[in-house]
Structure formats: C-alpha cells, structure tokens
Point group: C2
Chain length 341, copies 2
Amino acid sequence: MAIITIVGSGMMGSALAFPATDNGHTVRLVGSPLDRDIITEAKASGWHKTLQRKLPDGLEYYQIEELETALVSADLLICGVSSFGVDWFWQNVLNSISPSLPVLAVTKGMLNTPEGGFISFPQYYQNCLPDKKLILCAIGGPCTSYELADRHHSAVTFCGDDLAVLEQLRQLMGTSYYHISLSRDVTGVESAVALKNIYALAVTLAVGLAEKVKDGPPHYNTQAALFGQSIKETGRILELLAADSSNIYLAAGDLYVTIFGGRTRMIGSLLGQGQSFTKAMASLAGVTLESVVIAQRTAVFIREQIKQKKAKAIDFPLLLHIDDIISRGRPVKLPWQDFLR
Amino acid sequence: MAIITIVGSGMMGSALAFPATDNGHTVRLVGSPLDRDIITEAKASGWHKTLQRKLPDGLEYYQIEELETALVSADLLICGVSSFGVDWFWQNVLNSISPSLPVLAVTKGMLNTPEGGFISFPQYYQNCLPDKKLILCAIGGPCTSYELADRHHSAVTFCGDDLAVLEQLRQLMGTSYYHISLSRDVTGVESAVALKNIYALAVTLAVGLAEKVKDGPPHYNTQAALFGQSIKETGRILELLAADSSNIYLAAGDLYVTIFGGRTRMIGSLLGQGQSFTKAMASLAGVTLESVVIAQRTAVFIREQIKQKKAKAIDFPLLLHIDDIISRGRPVKLPWQDFLR
C-alpha cells in the first residue's frame, strides 16, 4: 500500500481521499492556509464542513505547518487547491518536493501567457520551476466532489506526459466507482474541462430566460441550442490549441454536469433573467467565480488569436458575447444569426 | 408569400405551422390516416389535442382524402409523419407529387439496408422511387414541438443535396425564434440526431439508478460519464458512416434536450431502477418507442460492421449494452471498464 498526501483540503481535494482510502492506502490530508478550520474540525470529529460529509476513517490530518511531515515517504502528491491557489502551490509545495514524487493536480483552469498562448497548470508549474523536472499529471472530467464522496460512478481522465506513470496513478486511485481513463494530451484534457465553466454559464442564460416568466415552462430547446453552440466552439478552441479533438466528449460530459448546479448556474440564470453582471455577482458576496475568470482568460486568448489572424471572431460568437457581458457590462442579447455557421 | 403543405399533423408537424404562419405563408395542415381526430377537432376549435396548444389563426385543415386539393400550387411539402409512417408517406404522398416540389422531412431516424448499410429517410425515399428524382431535404436538431409552438428560441439544421434549395427553405421557415443552419451532409445530420434517442435512454439509466434510493440524491457524475461516453460513441459512428464529425455538436445538443423528458427518459429510468425491459415497456401500454427501434437498428448496423471487420465491439460498449438490455432482456450492468478506452 502507498502513502498519498493531498495538499488542499477543500471539497475536491478531500473527496479524493475516498477512493484513496478505499484502496487501503495511507492518506494524509493537508490543509492550505485557507483550510485551517476545515482541518481542525475534521481532526476533532471527522466531519468536513464544506463537503458536508463524514470523511473516511483512518484519514490523517495535517495543518500546513506540518507539510514536511505529511510528505515523508509519500508515493503520490495530490494537489487539491483551487485555481486561485496555483501560485501558492508551486512556491510553497512544488518548490520543495523531491522531483521523483509524482504530482496529480485536480485544479481546473488555463492561463494566458505573455506571448498570447494558453497553457494548462501542469505546463505553468513546469515553466515556473524550469530547473526542476517534475512529474506533473492532472485530473480532468465530470466529477463533483459530493458525488465522488458518496461513491457514485464517476469517470475521469488522468493526463500527463508519461503513460507508465499515469497507469501507476490509475492503479493507486481507481476503484469500482472511480473510473479512470488515461491521456497524454494534457492541453486537450485541461482545456476541454476548463472551457466547460464558460459554456455552463452560457447555457444557463436560457434557464434564466425561462425564469423571467413566473412559473413559466423551461426553455430546453434554447438550452440545447446553446449547448450545441458550446460544443461547436469548444471544438474550434481545441483545434486552435492543436489538441486532440476527441477530447470533445470530456467537454460535453463536464458541461452537462456543470449546468445542473452551483454558482455558475446561479450567475448564468440571473444574467438570463436580465440582471446586470455587477448585480448578479453581488449575490456571491465577493466570491470570485472560476467560470468568470476562465471566460475572461479564454477571451484574451481568442482575441489575441484573432489579432494574429489565426482565428476569426465569427467562429466564437457565444464566448465573445459572454465576455462582453462579464467584462464590458453588456446586456444579454444572444447573437443567434452568428450561431448558424 | 408561399403555400406550405404539411402532411402529418402530429405534434412536430403541427408545431412547424407556427414559424410558417408567422412568416405570412398560407399553411395547409393535412392529417395522416392516424390524425383524423386531431384534424376534426382542430378544424372545429383550433385546438390541437396532443400538442395541447391553440394552433395559429388562418391555418387550413385537411383530412387525408383532401390531400390533392391541399397540394394545389404548393411551394413546399413538409413531411411531419413519425418514423413509423415513412412507408405510408412515400407510397401515398411522394409517389404522386410533382418532382419539382421540394420536400422537407422532420421525421427522425435511420434505416438498415440489406447490404449492412445505414441510411437516412431522404436516402430511403429516393431508393424507393428510383425513377423519380425528388428534391428531398430534412430537419435535424434539438427542437421539441411544445417549445417551438411556444416560440422559444430553437436552433435546427436543414440538410439536403442542394444549398440553393436549402437557402430558399430557410427563407420560408426561418423566424426570429426558429434559427436554421444549413448542411449538405444529410447522413451526418440525420444519424447524429437519430443516435441521440439511443443515448438519451443510456444516460437516463443513471437517473433510475439514483431513484433506486427513495429521495436519494441525483447521480450527475454518472449521468455525465454516460453523456461523455455517448458523445464518444456517436463520434465513432459518424466516422464509420464517413459523415462530417462536426455534426457531433448537433448530437450533443439533441441528446441534452432529449434527456429531460418524454417516454425515453421514463424507460431509461425504469431500467436503471432495475426493472426488466419487458416490464418497463409494459408501462407504455403497447406504444412502440422510437428510441428502442433506433437502438436496435444501430446495433444491427454496428454488429454487421464488426462482422465485416470495419469496426470493433470494444468501441461501442454502451450501444451494445443497451441493445443487450432491450433485444436480449439482459439486466443493466454498465461496462465501465470498456468505457475507459
């Protein structure tokens, strides 16, 4: 059995402790500086306050000051921080680990480069630590933390450069309910699952559109039209990134699950109802939404590609409209004619 | 303004009268022999008994005996019959029309050929009437009849051999809420939207799985995994048919809308709960389900391709499992390991 250290004890990082402990591994859950209360309470009672679940028996808890101890003899490091914690993670964790320790990141997102590129977190980490060749892998796919903790069937993809390493990680983490496929196309997997956040916001505009009429019927045709347009644009972005277009199935599954709940749906619905972006965001009381950040970053990338004449605006009307709504305060007015190409 | 004759006054055929009359055309709605009561009631009161909507003012109603009159000077014939009416349609309608009258079919489905092929209804019609060169077009895309009649934004694709004809049809039928894209890939469009019926049944197995536990939480991760697998297999079928893989966006949108309701969801849910196929179908009281028929036909096609060594069973585990459930009475046991390729 192996020793698996999870850094970042938010909902997703903690949920990964379920398949890991079910496989009989020693699992050490380390809170980031933001997770202090979660670790204190879980250590005392086993209860995870945001995941709202009892964590597995035998799980070991560490505050961030105990990171070094938590990493002793570890066979795998799982990065469970959110996209807002990536700089903290490489500066405070990746910077000090042994380069032979495989890292599996569950953080979803993409980053702009100064040259107009669009890179995944594993690429970013390696760029930040150019003198240290790390073994960086990542998890993509439609998997909410609650349902993973409830051991519902979930299918994800582990991606990384080395298939042999990925196969080892699958052996460590795969269970009868956590189904893992493998891919060497890190950009394809990571961009497909990051983009779903933007497009979930787009599809839920139609949810809000329906809610404008009190007790009115849902607008599934409109949602489906936006879903189709989302898949079309995602395919075009994968192409721009020279990623494997077969990752579209990951984007579709992840988009499907993201539409059903959470803050992205709430914001999309409020915008669809006619609220301004500023007003809709006020209901989040200062929480920064990953879907908004990724929409803006993707728009930066696409607008740069357009400037460089590598892409055409007409191919991304939904993405650019979403960016107009959130970055320029424009009202929702879906450009239906532009979807027909 | 044009004269548009719709034959088949079921829900979808009748719903198409909304954009057509909104554009100011003369619209003639002709009931098939199965639609007699619908036409009688609609003629008397304007009410469509299955669509549960008042039909547009000015719509003209015809029983099937009046077909010839309904076709006088028509500019467009819309075929609104279901997939079970295609033979009736070519024998009784297509057989006698002028070959210069464009035909736009909204019937969804695909058919097996004796040689192991898999063809769309437009192809089938032309094969049945080899001596008569018809102008055959078809509608694909996520569009429920109720919502079209409610004038919700809906996006569909008109497909056919001749882009100039398709553009004319778009001019006739497109409105501010009925958005039409055009495609010359009839097989791609028609197969993409037919396959969604099979896979909607597959995804809703997970709905039933969740319902096994009374008041239990939904299993969105599992639905999303099956959604992703569905898109993966749909892409492979498009490839086998040498169709344009970009039609995957149509399949995704249509799959999304089909999951939300109707009899396919009901059957998928009952199967997922653990009911046998025979018992689940008994709740439909003898109604034949299009999703069951298309699943069986697609399985016939895929099994023939496997026999001819043009495809591998391992690439279609979900489709073949659905076929095992409905054609061989097997219990639901999702082949998760086979999904990971």
